[in-house]
């Protein structure tokens, strides 16, 4: 009998705790913004960079009094560079944390996988760096603060022909990545239109470590430029192996190269290669220089493009919430779509009717073991 009483007491106490837990509904004191990034795994340096930029911008926003009189708070989730994990954590952000807005993901494949979820819940998703054109076609709640692959690929082709005087291009793309395929086709289209010839197109799959076979085939068709629209891990190995096979052609890539890992892996082989990206810390404008010096103070390193994009994205999002005067999804979405000439550190950002950002592409050249500013290509 005694036992029964004790058990029923315990039972009621537990039920009581659960019920009060459910019933409690406090006024939200902070504005919570969801952030989803690859903080570990294959793309971890991208995720870490964006996080640094976002957190720096957060500090500045909160120091200036936050947004709508409230402090802004980030809920940062790691997707381990995996599509399925990303879907799980985004679902968590949407249903458990009920964030009004999500920043992320870094790469196109994963963003494409989570965008339909955000669209269904009518929560704006703003990616700082997914450049594949299809990302924002998912629906009217999906935005980006970077340029798209079509622009990037064709600007790179223009650069190859006009500045590097290239006539014969080889392409080595990653067939597992929407980003790489999109960039390769945009590059090839413009390159051909401007009188160049794509002499050899080869493919690999993300995670490969040996590219000698493909490079040997490309070398045999004697190109004067090889376009490698991949991500840094493979790109570093490709550059290294290309130079080992004594390939003399210029090597050119997109913003997937923008990580210190490329130089770490490729070493001296990377000398003289070019890539396009969103931002260079060497640009002279006062806004960029101030950002670079604050960033250096906080993290003791130079910001890369992804850090700058992360920084711009949070600032842009906060300004949209301010203008909307609420965190309600529909109104924030409308204000995001209205963004015009937003002065970011990655250039002036205008959101166009397809919810893509219009902004310049920066070409960097690797010289003496460091990426240096080479030229800017306007949209």
């Amino acid at each position: 009998m005694k036992k029964l009483i004790i058990y029923s007491l315990v039972f009621f106490v537990i039920v009581g705790i659960l019920l009060t837990g459910c019933g409690k509904k406090t006024e939200e004191r902070n504005i919570k913004i969801g952030v989803i990034l690859p903080l570990t795994g294959q793309l971890s340096t991208f995720g870490q960079s964006v996080r640094k930029g976002v957190e720096l911008a957060l500090e500045e926003v909160n120091r200036e009094g936050g947004v709508l009189g409230k402090k802004v708070e980030l809920i940062i989730e790691d997707d381990e560079s995996k599509t399925d994990t990303a879907q799980t954590v985004v679902t968590k952000l949407l249903t458990k944390d009920r964030v009004p807005l999500i920043i992320g993901e870094v790469i196109s494949s994963i963003t494409l996988a989570v965008a339909p979820l955000c669209q269904r819940y009518k929560v704006p998703l703003i990616t700082p760096s997914a450049t594949n054109a299809d990302v924002t076609r998912t629906g009217d709640y999906i935005f980006r603060t970077c340029f798209i692959d079509d622009f990037q690929g064709s600007a790179l082709a223009r650069f190859a022909i006009e500045s590097l005087k290239a006539k014969r291009a080889g392409i080595l793309k990653d067939v597992k990545s929407d980003y790489s395929i999109g960039l390769a086709s945009a590059f090839a289209k413009t390159f051909k239109e401007m009188g160049g010839e794509v002499v050899n197109e080869q493919a690999y799959a993300a995670g490969d470590t040996d590219f000698r076979t493909q490079l040997t085939s490309i070398k045999a068709s004697n190109p004067d430029i090889i376009f490698i629209p991949g991500y840094y891990n493979e790109v570093g190995l490709i550059i290294r192996q290309a130079r080992e096979l004594s390939i003399k052609a210029n090597l050119l890539g997109g913003d997937g190269w923008d990580s210190p890992r490329v130089l770490e892996i490729a070493g001296a082989s990377a000398e003289g290669t070019y890539y396009g990206t969103h931002f260079s810390p060497l640009e002279k404008s006062p806004q960029v220089q101030e950002f670079v010096s604050v960033f250096k103070q906080k993290y003791n390193e130079e910001p890369d493009a992804l850090a700058a994009l992360g920084y711009d994205t949070l600032k842009l999002v906060c300004s949209a919430i301010k203008r909307a005067g609420t965190t309600e999804g529909q109104k924030v979405r409308d204000e995001l779509a209205q963004t015009k000439n937003f002065a970011g550190v990655t250039g002036e950002i205008t959101i166009d009717e397809n919810r893509n950002a219009r902004k310049p592409l920066v070409i960097l050249k690797i010289e003496k073991g460091k990426p240096t500013y080479f030229i800017s290509i306007k949209p």
Partner: protein, 299 residues
């Protein structure tokens, strides 16, 4: 034509690596009829052992430190191989447990090693220090690197050494006896357990060397790097005739070249597909492989 030879050289290096791993599969299969799926991860562990030692050495590219890196990778993977055999397989084997139980243990150990690797080193790939600075050579229009030459030559040397151990030493003779008839050899006083340990040690040492070779060749390592090469080495072993050591060597080189030629002349997207097509084809039409003896299953 020079393009063709260039591709052959590219394929030869991977062929040698597949062959070294395949030998471990085939030897263990010969003795206990087990596909040791943890073998690919022993290969990974060897690469990481070499990585850790290379990080500790002050002068990474001197000859003694290169030798030290290889030796420590061999020692570590040998130790790991023996440990796996002792803790994972031996008691089951002695009890004549069904082969399926052994196979399940093998898969479990493989997952265990991968996840321990992920715990310690994380999922992000790491650059292997360039303990052998790469240099390119040209022979006419064919270019190759010193690392390719080292990989190909040392895998050949190791295979010859292994063949000598198996054919000329007492231990080797005992191994062959156990492989031929395990119970009879036990009756004749051959210590089966010791032979089994020895077999695991030999196979794992070769896998460890292969691990460091891949690490230097590509040069990148991660805790899941053993899965695909492991599976492909298994395909090589089946292709050459599982249980046959020369078969595993031949299978490794054939697969390495076939993969390279497929990605050179058809499409690199089909490279990984090819290995498994070969596996299906061999199992259907040539179950005893290229060099295997067509022994009927004992009932």
């Amino acid at each position: 034509m020079s393009l063709f030879f260039q591709q052959l050289i590219n394929g030869l290096a991977w062929g040698g690596i597949y062959a070294l791993i395949a030998i471990g599969y085939t030897m263990v299969y010969g003795i206990m009829q087990l596909i040791n799926f943890a073998h690919g991860d022993v290969f990974m562990a060897g690469a990481f052992a070499g990585y850790v030692i290379a990080q500790l050495l002050p002068d990474k590219s001197s000859l003694p430190s290169v030798i030290l890196v290889f030796l420590s990778a061999m020692l570590f993977s040998t130790f790991l191989g023996i440990l796996i055999e002792r803790l994972g397989y031996r008691s089951l084997w002695k009890k004549n447990a069904p082969r399926l139980s052994l196979l399940i243990v093998a898969v479990a150990i493989s997952l265990l090693l991968e996840n321990v690797g992920l715990m310690i080193f994380g999922a992000a790939p790491r650059s292997f220090p360039s303990i052998i600075p790469s240099r390119s050579f040209s022979l006419g229009s064919i270019s190759f690197t010193n690392i390719q030459v080292i990989v190909i030559l040392s895998s050949l040397v190791l295979m010859v050494a292994l063949q000598l151990i198996v054919m000329r030493t007492k231990m080797g003779r005992a191994m062959r006896a156990v492989a031929e008839d395990s119970e009879m050899s036990a009756l004749l006083g051959i210590p089966r357990e010791r032979i089994l340990s020895f077999t695991f040690a030999l196979g794992s040492a070769l896998a460890g060397v292969a691990g460091v070779m891949v690490a230097i060749y590509t040069p990148q390592i991660n805790p899941l790097m053993g899965i695909l090469p492991g599976l492909k080495a298994f395909v090589s072993a089946v292709l050459g005739g599982i249980g046959s050591i020369p078969g595993a060597m031949l299978g490794g080189f054939v697969l390495g070249e076939a993969e390279t030629l497929v990605s050179a002349y058809i499409s690199s997207s089909y490279r990984d597909l090819l290995a498994f097509l070969i596996l299906i084809f061999v199992l259907l039409f040539l179950p005893s492989g290229l060099l295997g003896k067509g022994v009927a299953e004992k009932l």
